[in-house]
């Protein structure tokens, strides 16, 4: 499968995460300066130069667990805190949104346009901060350099790789249900109407040719749908109209985010079975993870004035209830990296690899963790 999938997966999931956090920060009336700091901190970490270098290297997709851990770290890249239940819900929303976008893309290449929609929104979040803006612009250039030369077949391979990653996920999302883009069984609605993709003709015509190349007859047939001709193509430049709405922000203060867990356990259990095979690339994933953590600016929330908690639920009771009732198979075991004063950094790393199958603990408390982690990095 494709080794060029991870950057797109990361950037699009990150984009969705920012949409949701932005909405929750507003909904909880977090002061504007704090909210802005949170968004800036997360975006700075997301587009950390060393991290992106690593991300853009040809490699297999991370396991679900490893990717979830990366986003856990990312969500905690600032003074904001999330409980386990809120983090679970945040991740579910992010992944279902991107799954929807990947599935609904008319052409595989449109995944790049979806990515640009996310990038455009991220750029807008940091438009007042030139230092972060330049990081974002640099990422646009990397995306354009890596992806615009790819053929349609190579994009389809990327799309197929993503679809395998999202296989069997049918979490119901309230906004999708309301907009009737998702059915009550968790599956997305695929319309047989609307514009055909750019480069495709409306189905319904058979042309037959003689040996000399002349068309000698045309036949029409009923295509069983209600299709129209393609729209104009979206822009693949740093600036431009992307045309597609997939990847734009679908949340607003008036559209709260909720998820339903039911109806997914059977399929999820099947999928967990397949991915339980030991991942021989575990060490590589941890290296990248470590670099991400190493790039973090650690905030010390001992000071009650700066730290605060964000919830994805309306009340604390709801949050607790969600944590208790979450089906086991949906809880990706979050890698719990305990910083220790142990000088044997390698032994620690080996221990962590062994902990891949442990179930998730509560989020590690942030103390002087940053210093210990940096010490661990030196040992890698």
């Amino acid at each position: 499968m494709s080794s060029r999938t991870l950057p797109l997966l990361f950037i699009n999931l990150g984009g969705e995460m920012l949409y949701i956090l932005d909405q929750r920060l507003r909904a909880q009336n977090i002061p504007a300066d704090k909210a802005k700091k949170v968004m800036n901190d997360i975006i700075t970490t997301m587009f950390n130069k060393k991290f992106l270098e690593e991300l853009f290297k040809p490699q297999e997709l991370y396991s679900k667990k490893a990717l979830r851990t990366v986003f856990d770290r990312l969500a905690h890249a600032s003074i904001m805190r999330l409980n386990q239940a809120s983090m679970d819900k945040l991740y579910d929303l992010m992944t279902m949104a991107f799954k929807y976008q990947v599935l609904l893309c008319p052409r595989p290449k449109d995944i790049l346009l979806v990515s640009f929609n996310h990038m455009d929104a991220i750029k807008d979040f940091v438009k007042d901060t030139p230092s972060i803006l330049s990081q974002v612009d640099e990422t646009y250039r990397q995306l354009i350099e890596m992806y615009t030369p790819l053929s349609s077949g190579e994009f389809q391979l990327i799309r197929q790789t993503l679809l395998i990653f999202f296989q069997d996920m049918h979490i119901r999302v309230s906004i999708f249900l309301k907009d009737k883009v998702q059915n009550s069984n968790g599956r997305f609605v695929l319309p047989t109407s609307g514009p055909v993709p750019h480069g495709t003709q409306v189905p319904g015509l058979i042309r037959m040719f003689s040996c000399t190349g002349e068309e000698f007859t045309r036949l029409k047939f009923n295509n069983g749908g209600n299709y129209t001709t393609a729209l104009r193509e979206g822009s693949f430049d740093i600036f431009g109209d992307r045309v597609t709405k997939l990847g734009t922000n679908m949340y607003s203060v008036s559209r709260p985010v909720e998820t339903h867990m039911s109806g997914t356990s059977k399929n999820s259990a099947q999928h967990t079975k397949v991915s339980a095979a030991p991942n021989p690339l575990a060490k590589e994933e941890l290296n990248l993870l470590a670099r991400l953590m190493g790039g973090l600016e650690v905030q010390k929330p001992g000071n009650a004035d700066t730290g605060f908690r964000i919830s994805l639920f309306a009340t604390d009771e709801e949050e607790e209830e969600a944590l208790i009732s979450r089906p086991d198979e949906l809880s990706c075991g979050v890698i719990n990296i305990q910083a220790t004063k142990d000088q044997q950094a390698n032994a620690e790393l080996a221990k962590i690899m062994g902990e891949f199958t442990e179930s998730g603990d509560q989020s590690p408390s942030v103390s002087n963790k940053g210093d210990d982690l940096l010490a661990m990095m030196d040992g890698l």
Binding site: S3, E60, Q160, L163, T192, V196, N223, N267, Q270
Partner: protein, 315 residues
Amino acid sequence: MYHKEKSIQIKNSASALYNNLSVLRIAPRRLTHFTVVHANMVNMVSASWDGLNYTHRQLQSKEPNVATSTSLIMQMYESDGSIMVYWHALDTPETPTAQAVFARGIAAVYENYICVGVSSGAILVFDVPSKGSNITLSEVLEEHKESITDMASECSGSQECIANLVTADDGGNLCVWKSGEEFQLLNKIPGFDMSCSSVKLWKGTAVAGYGTGQIRLYEAVTGILHAEINAHARWIYSVDIAPFSGLLLSAAEDSLVRVWHMTITPETNSVEVAHLHNECVTDTQICGARFCDGDGYAFAVTGYDLSEIIRYIQS
């Protein structure tokens, strides 16, 4: 023309891969094997014709050996999946390239060859003796420059056809071959940079399904385009032919399966296609569609994220 029959449940859902359904009819035992790929696992269901017995089997690829620098790309089993008789690995490049090494596209070719396509564009030709399991790599064909997507052998049963293998790649290019100790390239039909995801060969006519949703019928040896159909609104994932009746099946991401009829007379060089029937598999991106028998009396369909094989039978 067709109506839906009882579906067959499979242990895992189907992955979004081209041509993701294989059907093998074993008449003497009155059963049919169906296989569907889920990530790195093959799900096999053997269904008895009376509809009473379903046996499931799962074949998983061997654990990758990270110590060696090879990529396992192919495993061969007995037709009921009971024993693995052969496997083949390729050298992995020193530095990882942007495309992992993988196999895609497979065909059994006259007289005793099995051809397998690789992501590099190479085609491996394996010599399979009629007795014993001494399978050997006979040849590597390096004509395609882009990843192989699908391949097919001549399915009319006629020995008179000169060409007996057509191979397709991500650029939409088709290569037409004559099998033998040394495979002979008879023709190259260029694509228009649009991936050909599925191809079949019948009575010397190559039927190809493309990412643009078009189906094209070419005379394989000459490359003459006989017909072009604006068939689907999305990427085609599977085409299949029922060789005794000339029925053609096409399926795509647009949720539609279409049945066509082809009239091919090689002597007069005439090819005609007519549309017969549509089936919509609601809210499903179809990834595999095959006729279950040589007449096209029944066909089966798989879809992404679907844990069943949907069947249709002529009314």
